[in-house]
Amino acid sequence: MMGSTLFYAQRLTAVFLLGYSLWLLSFFILNQPLEYSIWVLFTDQMNFLILTSMIAIIITIHGFIGLWTIGTDYFTSRTLGFLSPAIAKYADVIRGLYSLLFTIWGILIIFFILLIIWS
C-alpha cells in the first residue's frame, strides 16, 4: 500500500473519530445527570447504531496504522539493540508478534462493538 494512502487514511479517520467523540460529549453534557431511560433511548436510535458500527471499523483502521507505525519506529534491531544486542536479533519476530497482537485485538474490538450495540 502507498505510504500516502496510509497517511491520509490516518488523518481522515482521525477527523471522523473527533466528530463522533464531540457528538457523544455533547450528549453527555446536555443530559447531566445521566438517566437510564434517556441513555437507552439514545443508544437504541438508528443514528447511534449506524454511526457506532462505522466507528468500529474506523477506529480499528486508525489504531492499526498508528500501532503499526509505532512498531516500525521502535521495535527494530537498531532500537531494541539498546536494551540488549541479544534481543536485537529477534527484532523482526518481536515486531511480528506485536503486530499479530494488535491485529487480533482490533478484530475483537470490532466484534464486541457490533455485538454489544446490536444485541
Binding site: R11, A14, V15, L18, S21, Y36, W39, V40, T43, I59, G63, G66, L67, I70, Y74, R78, T79, L80, G81, F82, P85, A88, F102, W105, G106, I109, F112, I113, I116, I117
Partner: protein
C-alpha cells in the same frame, strides 16, 4: 574533524540519551496515549456501554460503583482523560498537517497550550469526581 570518519559509530540507538524538545514530548505522549486507548480505554468504554444499557439495575450498579469506589472512579476518569489528551494533541497534529502553526516557535507554544488545556480539563474532571 576528519577523525570522525574513523571513530566507531554506534550501531544501536540509545533512546534515553536523546534530549527531547517539548514538541517531541507532545508527539511521543500522543503515541503512548494511543496505545493506552486501544488496549485499555476502548475495552473499558465497551464494558461500560454493555452494562449501562443492559438493564436499569446494571446501570445503577455502575453508577453506584462510580460514586462509591475511589479506585473505579479514578480509573475511569483517568482513562477518559488519556483519551482527551490524545484528541487534544491530535488536533494540534492535524492543524500542523494543514500547515497551521508549523514553525519551531509556534510548535513549542502550541505544545504548552495543549498541556495547559489538558491540565485544566483534568482539574475540572477530578474536582467533579472527588468533590
Amino acid at each position: 574533524m576528519s577523525n570522525n570518519h574513523n571513530r566507531t559509530r554506534p550501531v544501536y540507538m540509545n533512546l534515553m540519551q536523546i534530549k527531547l524538545p517539548i514538541s517531541a514530548i507532545s508527539s511521543i505522549t500522543h503515541r503512548l496515549a494511543g496505545i493506552y486507548i486501544f488496549f485499555i480505554t476502548l475495552p473499558l468504554a465497551l464494558f461500560l456501554l454493555y452494562f449501562s444499557t443492559k438493564s436499569y439495575n446494571d446501570f445503577m450498579l455502575i453508577s453506584n460503583t462510580f460514586n462509591k469506589s475511589l479506585l473505579f472512579s479514578t480509573f475511569v476518569s483517568f482513562s477518559f482523560l488519556i483519551f482527551a489528551y490524545h484528541i487534544l494533541t491530535g488536533i494540534r497534529h492535524l492543524l500542523q498537517d494543514l500547515h497551521i502553526g508549523e514553525s519551531l516557535q509556534a510548535s513549542r507554544v502550541s505544545s504548552y497550550i495543549v498541556f495547559f488545556v489538558w491540565l485544566l480539563l483534568a482539574c475540572i474532571v477530578f474536582s467533579k469526581v472527588y468533590l
